[in-house]
Symmetry: D3
Subunit: 125 residues, 6 copies
């Protein structure tokens, strides 16, 4: 369960540093963070589709922290294993073998989230 | 209608050069092209969702030719204007203002495809 | 004077497509565009420094349209030739020889803007 | 004080491996390293501005080691908190949300450097 | 000998997660992995040249896991120190100073592989 | 023969703008250009191998001007069609389908260079 232990650490780090950034007095960055949250809210496209878009964008741009975030959100939105791997396959084809280390990370987080869910444990962000 | 005139030129160029590549005798490249086609076929995720994934991946990686291709495929799969702009907004938030020139291209191709459809003209690839 | 003739075409295209994007009804994209404008306004850092930051960011990310925009803004903000080349040199060192085609573009636009200014012609965006 | 403890480790690793690279006998790499140092020295632009250019370039290209280096240099050059966040905001707007994990790192290093300075501790590289 | 200890950990992680990915039931990803292996097999170009191509591609795209893999393969294919540094120099010139943290990693892995070989220890993947 | 007509135009543009850059008085950029030339000269690795490294680096980083340059150099160094496609296949696998538009360009330039050679025409840069 290493990745989600790390994740708990990451979650706290992310929360703490986001607070520091939002308290810095820079209003534009604050507004950017608000727009970032809005981008994944239900609209003409549902949240699940938008989270898959975020997952694929994060994978082809190869950002492990962003991938971790979107994998958790995908599990929360009930993305199935088959859907998850098909989305990753699009990222792999578009982005190439350079994305494979990030596929490993995505799969690791996905499986541990699923295990947590089965045990009735929280996967809140 | 400049973009689609260019597109017609691009379509012919793309077809011609893909043939040259596939006839080169390199079997691995040929297999990659087959996998590329398969990645967007209906599976656990429908084709429309996969084309939106391809569009967002192409936009954050900033490849106009790939964007052009996926915009046409999105229109063929009946992606609405609101869905289209929400997908582009995810790409814009993830990828930043550096993607804006590619948003312009995506919107131009989208609008011209819609106009062609209204006139009963083909938007085949 | 080819680049600036192209630029005039680009300026019109940019203006027209930005209007199409802003009229699309997607509020988040509209807000992103507003934040984008705000990012380069005078604050603790002056506008000239911020435009140099935008120029270097655009060059290492290799986007010709973004480079063109920031070069014109740099000339408007009275960036000298020596300052301009030192900023490009930072981009070249950080981003490598893959940025050289974009250096060529930046220098071409810079020189033509300077010529226009000498002739008393407008370099408005 | 975790980031700067890590930084101390990173500083030693960086010094050790740079030595190994420079002692390898490859003259071109040695010359590149010399040019890299020169790029941030005072010229038509002052060192502070050049370090801000290096910080923004490193952030949009998303390299934590490079960000760490330029944040420390920015603090040494007396970049204020407001100036620092405005530079990061340019990087965030240009590079998008994919840069946010690197903003967190930049802010963490910045704050710990400031704390070290207040305590009269060294932030030498 | 830290990098190769980490490498042993990475090797196990890589093997375990690759198995999970290949057992997921997604046939396209499986085929991609097969093509990935094929790309470096002897053909018109020998394996050593192909591994150098993989090393340079991984370095300019800045992926430490991919660099680690190709460095080990390069040592297995008897790439000399002079050849290794010349290939890294091409990557440094093309990709810029942003690749330097990855050069450090590459050199660290290279030297530890050479030491293992001298001691008659395995550097199998 | 469109690509090489464009190439002739590009060759002149490249030569003219490089002169402008080298005459600008910025010594660091001048030294970078010298290092860039040196990187592909015969050393422990022969020039042909280095040009293949440059081609693959340019393709995964997706720069058409850089690809054009290295394709011409590869043909001058007598890279065979089979070798050329195997190198492109490594780039395609590492960099993914987003590189395909650049493969088309590479193949177009390669074929036209070969035709020029058969007709006894110059492919000098």
């Amino acid at each position: 369960m290493k990745a989600l232990d790390n994740l708990e650490e990451f979650r706290r780090y992310r929360e703490r540093m986001n607070s520091r950034i939002l308290e810095s007095g820079n209003l534009e960055i604050k507004r950017f963070f608000a727009l970032d949250t809005r981008a994944y809210e239900r609209g003409a496209l549902d949240t699940k589709t938008k989270e898959l878009l975020g997952l694929v964008a994060s994978t082809v741009l190869r950002c492990n922290d962003c991938i971790t975030y979107h994998v958790i959100r995908c599990v929360q939105e009930s993305v199935s294993q088959a859907e998850f791997f098909e989305a990753l396959n699009v990222a792999l084809i578009v982005g190439g073998s350079i994305t494979i280390p990030h596929l490993r990370r995505a799969v690791e987080v996905f499986e541990e989230c699923k295990q947590k869910q089965e045990k009735g444990q929280s996967i809140d962000l």
